[in-house]
């Protein structure tokens, strides 16, 4: 079983079983492939280089829309313009964090630098946002319902399996954030 992250003299440390590391690696990789922009043949290479994407539009997939939200609730035109200037680099920074966290999964004992911890916390958060959309978690009541699913022997279908995975990543992120908060308090 995984051990909760904790903050100590070596920094933030944690422990994951090989099967848990495989699971997290595949979750991180799944979100990376969702976020990777489609390469189009007719794309202006210079525009792509500076992060512009004139073809960017609000994603149809709910989970992707949650990862890349619109910047205005009321002004669709302004949101779209903003998206064209910022979405590509937002995708890239998320992909960077997910890949960095995935690369850190090469051993059971995890020792995270402050930068590693930031990558891990955002990577776990993005994974949870995607899982929550797949599980249809729309409000706190839905979240509470999913939270009740804790017994791996009950994993009979895709939904109950996803709920267990969601709860595992929630627990892991909570322990990581508590360790990060503790490191802030200690440094001050």
């Amino acid at each position: 079983m995984a051990k909760a992250f904790k903050y100590g003299i070596k920094g933030i440390t944690g422990y994951l079983e090989p099967a848990e590391r495989d699971l997290l690696r595949s979750l991180f990789d799944d979100v990376v492939s969702m976020l990777e922009p489609e390469e189009r043949a007719d794309q202006d290479p210079l525009a792509a280089l500076v992060g512009l994407d004139a073809e960017a539009r609000e994603p149809e997939d709910r989970a992707l829309r949650r990862l890349l939200p619109s910047v205005s609730k009321t002004d669709a035109a302004a949101s779209l313009e903003f998206r064209r200037y910022t979405e590509r680099s937002l995708r890239e920074s998320k992909i960077g964090a997910l890949k960095a966290a995935s690369l850190g999964l090469d051993k059971d004992e995890l020792v995270l630098t402050p930068a590693d911890a930031r990558h891990w916390s955002t990577a776990l958060n993005d994974v949870r946002l995607v899982l929550a959309e797949r599980l249809d978690i729309r409000d706190d009541e839905d979240a509470g319902h999913v939270h009740l699913m804790q017994d791996w022997s009950q994993a009979e279908d895709v939904e109950s399996y996803l709920a267990l995975v969601y709860n595992f990543t929630t627990w892991l992120q909570e322990s990581l954030v508590q360790a990060m908060l503790q490191s802030l308090d200690t440094r001050r």
């Binding site: 939200p69 910047v71 609730k73 916390s121 909570e174 954030v177």
Partner: protein, 120 residues
């Protein structure tokens, strides 16, 4: 609620070089945009508070207060500034996975505008 103008860690005051005196000074009433964080059932309360503390440099007490406001009221204005400043904050919040939008600080409902977005 009063909020001080929040500047992110990456918008530090510029150091004055030589003879330079600033010619443009923005006063508070000139910067009428808000950064709004919306509640969702996924983001951990501890994580939201952590982001407010480390990104905006807010105290633990202020970060927790804003986080609870998001949680209980559904949304909270966590910073304000020029349009460019709050947009920069918004994209940073999206990087963290928080649901952030910008809006004009005039209060009230949205002005009659064209091109309303679809709500999912």
């Amino acid at each position: 609620m009063t909020l001080s103008v929040a500047l992110g860690p990456d918008t530090q005051e510029s150091t004055q070089t030589g003879t330079g005196t600033s010619t443009e000074v923005l006063s508070a009433p000139d910067i009428p945009w808000n950064l709004v964080i919306w509640n969702d059932p996924v983001n951990l309360m501890s994580y939201v508070s952590y982001v407010f503390r480390t990104y905006f440099g807010y105290s633990e007490a202020k970060s927790n207060k804003l986080m609870l406001e998001v949680h209980k009221k559904g949304r909270s204005i966590v910073a304000h500034g020029s349009k460019e400043q709050v947009e920069q904050h918004a994209v940073a919040m999206h990087g963290y996975g928080l649901w952030a939008t910008v809006e004009k600080a005039t209060g009230g409902g949205p002005a009659s505008g064209k091109g309303k977005g679809k709500r999912g």
